[in-house]
């Protein structure tokens, strides 16, 4: 079966292409134009835009903490106004796995990474990922507040031992990469520490947050994991925390490091309210630090819920909960805090946060190193992506939004002075080509023959948000899954993972450790393929050699 997408504007920055062309699909892959060019099925996409399926590198879509959020907030919905006549009235936007897959696919997203899976809870995260239809997914595994690693570092064990442990954890939890969240901060909070920065030491272990980040950064790099260490810095959300972000960028020391949702770390202490944007300063540092990648964590307005394994930060934010309820969960390693929040455009702080995110997008100069996220659902639900894309592409639209916000908030940012508008090739780089490269997914994020046929087709519209919200066509593995912004066929994707070979010795050591510390076999944290309940649920991504 040969499928032809005929006559669209193909925007494929990974291959340096932006031209009117045909795209051919056979057996789930993109293929060369066959001689003679006779297709079994042709979709006329003249006047439309053809891109690879979009990839989200950081969106909290699965796991026990998300489901804890669902249970805390039965009133929470995905904000959508999808009301296509003729569809069943599903668009109540229930916050569940099937809506997650459906709403992502409608926007042309075909791969999404859940960035915060705790090793002891990995099975639930994978079960939830398996129930998200259509899209492919992956999990980043959280280390850096776990007793085993902290003890290795306290005892000054070798880098080899840290690498072995990281490899064992990834194999056990079936992760694609490693994330560290307020390194040491959650462990310190259990000892009643209430603020924790890069050079603070974890009580009882005598090692600094910086030492944990560096150890993991090196282990990830030396194991050849495609995705660099994914860092959630200390001091999230606090006025003046730009200093922490700058220090963390400096700590990359030329090796790959990914800083997540940097918007939440771009705050100065200037202005009449002692809270200001420091995004311009931070963007300059990001532009200069070529080994560093970031994602933004854009804030948008409306009711959402913050779900974070940064339990210390979430505890300190508990009194800002809107509505006034929260869960603080001291886990075996990181735990989590679930704090509902309603970002309001007339709130000074929230308006500054909104502007800061856009400044980071617009003042960084390399769409290969800046990634498109809201830290869903923390800055905003992912269903706001189309509106954010429209804001990036249209300064008039930004001006209209700014006009509705407190002037004193805009005065402590540089947003009103920024004229840049993202182009479609830049959008395609930031949401397709670059994420595939960052995650090591060599056959995704582009449209060269051989690539997996994950394709999104958009119909240009004066309302750019509408264009991105309702893809004209989406193909997943070559099969048509979305037409005119509505799912037409349901399939289930797979979860990507890496599997650096752990040595036998570490498996034995972990068995002894779990027996001694927990009185349990580590089997409770394993993710057996048979337990997932869907055929062929995993896909292995090779490590760099």
């Amino acid at each position: 079966m040969l499928t032809r997408l005929a006559g669209g504007r193909v925007i494929d920055p990974a291959n340096g292409r932006d031209a009117i062309a045909d795209v051919y699909i056979r057996d789930g892959r993109i293929v060369e134009a066959p001689p003679g060019g006779s297709a079994n099925e042709t979709h006329d996409v003249t006047g439309k835009i053809v891109m690879a399926g979009a990839i989200d590198i950081h969106s909290h879509i699965a796991g026990n903490n998300e489901t804890l959020g669902r249970l805390l907030l039965p009133e929470q919905r995905y904000p959508t106004d999808l009301s296509h006549p003729g569809h069943r009235p599903q668009p109540k936007g229930a916050w569940n796995t099937s809506e997650t897959g459906r709403l992502y696919a409608n926007m042309g997203f075909t791969t999404v990474v859940e960035p915060a899976v705790l090793p002891h809870n990995a099975l639930q995260a994978h079960l939830e990922l398996a129930d998200i239809p259509i899209i492919d997914k992956a999990a980043l595994i959280v280390l850096g507040n776990d007793d085993f690693l902290l003890t290795l570092l306290r005892q000054r064990e070798s880098a080899d031992a840290v690498r072995g442990y990281v490899a064992w954890t990834l194999a056990t939890s079936r992760g694609l990469g490693i994330k560290v969240i307020n390194a040491g901060g959650a462990a310190a909070f259990k000892d009643n520490v209430r603020s924790f920065s890069l050079d603070d030491e974890v009580p009882g272990y005598g090692i600094s947050s910086r030492a944990i980040v560096k150890a993991l950064q090196h282990a990830v790099h030396e194991l050849g994991l495609p995705h660099p260490l994914h860092v959630h810095c200390n001091n999230l959300g606090l006025a003046g925390n730009v200093e922490t972000a700058l220090a963390t960028i400096e700590a990359a020391e030329g090796l790959p490091l990914h800083l997540a949702h940097l918007q939440f770390y771009s705050y100065g202490k200037e202005g009449p309210r002692g809270f200001s944007s420091a995004a311009a300063r931070l963007a300059e540092a990001v532009n200069a630090a070529k080994s560093v990648t970031i994602d933004v964590g854009q804030v948008m307005f409306g009711q959402t819920v913050t779900i974070s394994c940064d339990v210390l930060r979430q505890f300190n934010a508990r009194k800002q909960a809107r509505p006034k309820k929260y869960v603080i969960f001291d886990g075996d390693s990181n735990g989590a805090g679930i704090v509902p929040y309603d970002y309001r455009s007339n709130d000074f702080h929230n308006a500054v946060q909104w502007a800061v995110g856009l400044e980071l997008f617009l003042l960084t100069n390399d769409p290969w190193r800046v990634f498109f996220t809201t830290d869903h659902p923390n800055g905003a639900p992912f269903t706001t992506y189309p509106d954010i894309l429209a804001l990036l592409m249209d300064r008039e639209l930004r001006a209209q939004w700014m006009a509705t916000m407190p002037k004193e908030a805009m005065d402590v940012t540089t947003l009103p002075s920024i004229a840049r508008e993202y182009t479609l090739p830049e959008i395609a780089t930031m949401t397709r080509a670059a994420p595939a490269k960052l995650l090591g997914l060599k056959d995704r994020g582009h449209l060269k023959p051989g690539a997996v046929a994950d394709i999104a087709v958009y119909a240009p519209d004066g309302d750019k948000a509408k264009m991105f919200r309702e893809a004209a066509l989406v193909f997943k593995n070559g099969a048509l899954v979305v037409r005119d912004g509505a799912v037409v066929a349901q399939s289930f994707g797979r979860a990507f993972n890496v599997r650096p070979e752990p040595e036998r010795a570490i498996a034995r050591r972990m068995r002894d450790y779990y027996d001694q510390r927990y009185g349990l076999s580590p089997d409770f944290m394993s993710v057996p393929e048979a337990a997932i309940g869907r055929p062929d649920p995993f896909e292995r991504v090779p490590c760099n050699t």
Partner: protein
């Protein structure tokens, strides 16, 4: 031994599947309830209920909802059994039902694994029927007696911890103040309770006390999970529907209402006209009193007040077949290998076969 029955008579499994699909397929308002099953069984059952536009409920929803209502009204601070075991320097046991709820609790929590037992104090507040169990452990300090006093004792304790005066309680004022001082002095205290034993306001007062204590020190809560894998099924419902149990699909999308979608109420009021009852770990019959066509998935067909319309013998999760279940020791969903693998059909497979036998077009 037979593996399926229609009105008490042995039939082939296939005949039972077909009859179950006929009953559910012609029903206008089916309930899928009991839900004593593993994660795979829960996923299959919830998907079936969605397709039937029926409702889902668990046999222990009352207990689940008591904790949940406190959490979603006021919030909660919680921790894991492992952290309680490793870290707690003060264990505050609340009322009865704890050892029944988690038989391994004494083994897991009473002693500190690092041998630093001297640094762990255990207080059992108003143990009631658990007094004997509490007395069996010398190191446990028992305060109060009757669990009915807990609401007022916890309120007074919370007031004293906050430095406010408290009214009379069954405890001596000195005893109360000493306990308040002990709580404040803890470095990482953990309160343990079983929601089946308490009303919502008592649990809310306890959780409020825990939150208050965190203004100055660290304290957390450890609610014990009800039996029959209730906590796991609640998680599955949470991710698949966005809601806990007592969720209905009648309008084509999930809606949650603890009163409307209470399976017992739905059957007893006559709103439900068919029930799929799942109780795979052990036979627990439904507690409704009205007669309703019943399809039972249980280890044996016995134990129901009258033979179900359809009964299918299913394997016990983690005993007859591998399963994913909620583990009390870790508080997580974990894989459990079959202890005595048997060929009995699993709930997931039985429900899957019933779903496959349904007509393509359903009545609503």
């Amino acid at each position: 031994m037979a593996e399926a029955w229609i009105r008490g008579d042995p039939v082939t499994l296939q005949a039972a599947i077909v009859e179950a699909a006929r009953l559910l397929g012609t029903s206008r308002m089916p309930v899928v309830a009991g839900l004593g099953t593993d994660v795979a069984g829960a996923r299959a059952a919830i998907a079936l209920a969605e397709r039937l536009r029926g409702t889902i409920d668990h046999m222990h929803s009352e207990a689940l909802l008591r904790d949940l209502d406190v959490m979603r009204e006021a919030g909660m601070m919680i921790t894991t059994p492992n952290e309680a075991r490793l870290r707690a320097d003060l264990l505050l046991l609340i009322g009865p039902g704890l050892i029944e709820g988690w038989p391994d609790l004494p083994a897991r929590l009473f002693a500190k694994p690092d041998g630093g037992d001297a640094t762990r104090r255990i207080v059992w507040l108003c143990p009631g029927t658990a007094a004997k169990a509490a007395n069996a452990h010398q190191k446990i300090l028992i305060i109060g007696d009757d669990p009915a006093d807990l609401a007022v004792v916890l309120a007074a304790l919370r007031a004293r911890c906050a430095g406010r005066p408290a009214g009379n309680t069954p405890l001596e004022a000195q005893e109360l103040d000493a306990l308040a001082a002990e709580l404040a002095k803890a470095h990482f205290g953990v309160a343990v309770w079983s929601s089946a034993e308490h009303d919502g306001l008592t649990i809310e007062m306890l959780c409020g006390l825990v939150k208050d204590l965190n203004a100055a020190t660290r304290f957390s809560g450890l609610p014990l999970a009800p039996p029959d894998n209730a906590a796991a099924v609640q998680q599955v419902s949470g991710w698949m529907t966005g809601f806990p149990l007592r969720t209905g699909f009648g309008r084509g999308y999930p809606e949650h209402d603890p009163w409307r979608f209470d399976a017992v109420r739905l059957v007893d009021s006559g709103e439900a006209d068919c029930a799929l009852w799942i109780s795979a770990g052990r036979v627990v019959p439904p507690s409704w009193t009205r007669d309703v066509p019943l399809i039972a998935l249980a280890p044996q067909p016995d134990g129901f007040p009258q033979p179900p319309e359809v009964a299918i013998a299913v394997g016990r999760p983690g005993i007859d077949h591998d399963a994913v279940e909620h583990l009390a020791a870790t508080g997580t969903l974990a894989p459990v290998s079959a202890r005595n693998p048997a060929n009995t059909i699993s709930v997931a497979d039985a429900v899957g076969r019933i779903a496959a036998a349904l007509p393509a077009a359903l009545p609503c």
